[in-house]
Amino acid sequence: MQNVASPGLSAKERVLIDQEVTSHEGRPGALLGILEAVQAANAHKYLSMDALRYIADKTGTPPARVYSAASFFALFNLFPQGDNTICVCRGTACHTRGSRDLLEKVCLDLGLGSQDLESTSEADKLALTTSDQKFTVRTVACFGQCALAPVVEINHHILSHVNERTLQREVGALTRGR
């Protein structure tokens, strides 16, 4: 029966979701906590459609509401993420200090399509992943580190006063290390 509902879900993920749903039982607003835990446990840090369907099934929440929550929050990814995350700040201070150029440069270096960038550069939730699943480039509205602008976060490590050369060096180090 469970296999019919979500055929692509591994037994491990299913057990995790079952545990999360049980531990949050009867608590209003549990959905976000469940989604967060399930995404964190995923190898590619994303919520698959099968996982969402299974969560909806287990919590008795309408699937549309689960999808609505997962697509609303920038925290949740609906597509597999790369092994390394490069997060470019697009806040005002970083913008005036050239974060758009940094974003374009890093996308070009990693071979992420410039047409993708153009169509999504104004979106608040930009997340581009290289085809080899090694890098994900995303944008963020502000890190709150405006004095250090422009700021780029690589794998949860914040780099300040970034210029194209330092960014290239950091990304290069990750590429060699992989």
Binding site: R53, P62, P63, A64, R65, Y67, S71, F72
Partner: protein, 239 residues
């Protein structure tokens, strides 16, 4: 328990309203028409369309009549130059948000958005369409969803949840990327929870949700029927 009666002033006229009633309901009880798009009698109010904005004496801010409860001594204006300006702007922005092309729409002539634009004297748009061409979902055997005509009023969302109890519809993403989705963004025809009842189609103010087999300006919606069902359900639940 007897309901408390409240006196409020609407356009200078003293009217009685029940406690807990919204400004909009109180006004409509007294034949004072406030324009609305997202409001549908019997459904919960969300204040999404900003058509029902009214002026309250003593404050600069405009208030949405559908979600603001009446309070004793309120003095409201439902018609003014400022309100017309705001309503016009709201409709204009709704029109540019999607590709609304009345001349090829099934709901042409029976569309609440079109009627609203007409009543506000909008004959052309000052801005360019902000969205590209959006997909049309034809997967349902009887109905069709055209995102290009959707104004995100969420009437279908509320009808499905509150009247049918199926909760098929919801709004996904946010801002300019907001879309109506069925289940997990599944094609409508494959949405497991959909009961094919068609109440969302009847509740839709525009041609976004329509029945198949209708030509241009042939689709007439029966929103009153959805309202009646919603009210009956509410009284049934309240009893």
């Amino acid at each position: 328990m007897p309901e408390k009666t409240i006196s409020i002033r609407i356009d200078g006229e003293l009217v009685n309203a029940r406690e807990g009633q919204s400004i909009l309901e109180a006004a409509r009880d007294h034949q004072c028409e406030i324009p609305t798009l997202c409001y549908l009698k019997g459904l919960s109010s969300v204040g999404a369309c900003r058509m029902c904005m009214v002026e309250l004496a003593g404050t600069e801010r405009l208030l949405p009549a559908c979600t603001t409860p009446v309070q004793d001594g309120m003095s409201l204006r439902t018609k003014s130059e400022k309100l017309t300006l705001y309503r016009r702007m709201a409709v204009e922005l709704l029109l540019v948000e999607r590709r609304h092309i009345c001349s090829v729409c099934v709901s042409d002539g029976h569309c609440e958005l079109q009627a609203m634009a007409k009543s506000l004297g909008i004959t052309h748009l000052r801005y360019t369409y902000s969205a590209g061409r959006l997909p049309v979902d034809m997967t349902h055997p009887r109905f069709v969803l055209d995102h290009n005509r959707c104004i995100l009023c969420t009437r279908c969302v509320r009808t499905c949840e509150e009247v049918e109890g199926a909760s098929v519809w919801e709004i996904a993403s946010r801002g300019i990327h907001s879309r109506i989705v069925s289940d997990l963004k599944d094609p409508w025809g494959q949405a497991h929870n959909c009961t094919d009842c068609g109440k969302c189609v009847q509740a839709c103010p525009t041609g976004a949700l329509a029945e198949k087999g209708y030509g241009v300006h042939q689709m007439v919606k029966d929103t009153d029927r959805v309202s009646r069902l919603a009210l009956r359900r509410a009284s049934h639940l309240g009893a």
